[in-house]
């Protein structure tokens, strides 16, 4: 198949070099100044009435380095 051109060819991929050497730079690899990580808390109920919403989760705003 080495000499196939166009459809059916197996061209070398340009992106492979960085993936193979650990330089892929996925979203979780990115670090920026002042960056924060977000956490979603989702309802465990598919269909329910929201009676009381605490925001943020109790205690979170008092934990160092956690902000709202």
């Amino acid at each position: 198949m080495g000499n196939v051109i166009g459809i059916g060819a197996a061209p070398k991929r340009k992106e492979d070099q960085r993936f193979l050497t650990g330089r892929g730079n996925y979203v979780s690899d990115i670090k920026r100044p002042g960056m924060a990580a977000g956490v979603f808390v989702r309802s465990p109920h598919g269909h329910a009435v929201l009676r009381l919403a605490r925001y943020p989760a109790a205690g979170a705003s008092r934990t160092p380095r956690v902000f709202r």
Binding site: K12, E15, F19, L20, G22, G24, D29
Partner: protein, 161 residues
């Protein structure tokens, strides 16, 4: 606590909390993000590194275990020492399309290199058994197995020279 170890050939000393995982240390403190955290439960193998030459899952390894040890990560994997060439296993993965999105690839490579180093004449069954702890959601493994067989053969040939 202070720990000293050899990281990809360089003496390294860091100050860490004992409750630090090696994967976290590498990615957050040492900025070596080639080691990936996939499942974080030591099942997927995206975080595999070599500790004193043996494959280990860095998401299930405490930093104090590094003290006095030698650690090799994907960033330290290379062809001839000091060269810019890729390792024969990396070349084989490129040649045989052993990757797609690339997320599992660093762990796959580290496991594959350890596997090939331990046993020179790998059978396909041994490769599949040896890759049990590395999960890939893209390739269906076929090309990874082909790549590892080819990479192992290339490592063997290079050793014979």
């Amino acid at each position: 606590m202070q720990i000293s170890f050899t990281l990809n050939g360089r003496p390294t000393t860091v100050d860490v909390e004992p409750a630090t995982l090696v994967a976290e240390l590498l990615r957050e403190q040492l900025n070596l993000t080639g080691t990936h955290i996939g499942c974080d439960t030591s099942q997927c193998g995206a975080c595999v590194v070599h500790l004193d030459g043996l494959p280990v899952k860095s998401c299930t390894l405490l930093a104090p275990a590094l003290d006095g040890a030698t650690l090799l990560t994907i960033e330290g994997l290379q062809g001839a020492p000091g060269s810019n060439l890729m390792h024969p296993m990396q070349e084989a993965f490129r040649e045989h399309h052993g990757l797609q999105c690339g997320f599992c690839t660093p762990g796959m490579l580290m496991t594959a290199v350890a596997l090939a180093a331990e046993k020179p004449d790998l059978t396909e069954a041994e490769v599949r058994h040896g890759l049990e702890g590395n999960i890939c959601r893209c390739t269906g493994y076929q090309n990874i197995v082909v790549s590892v067989m080819a990479g192992a053969a290339a490592m063997n040939a290079a050793k014979g020279e």
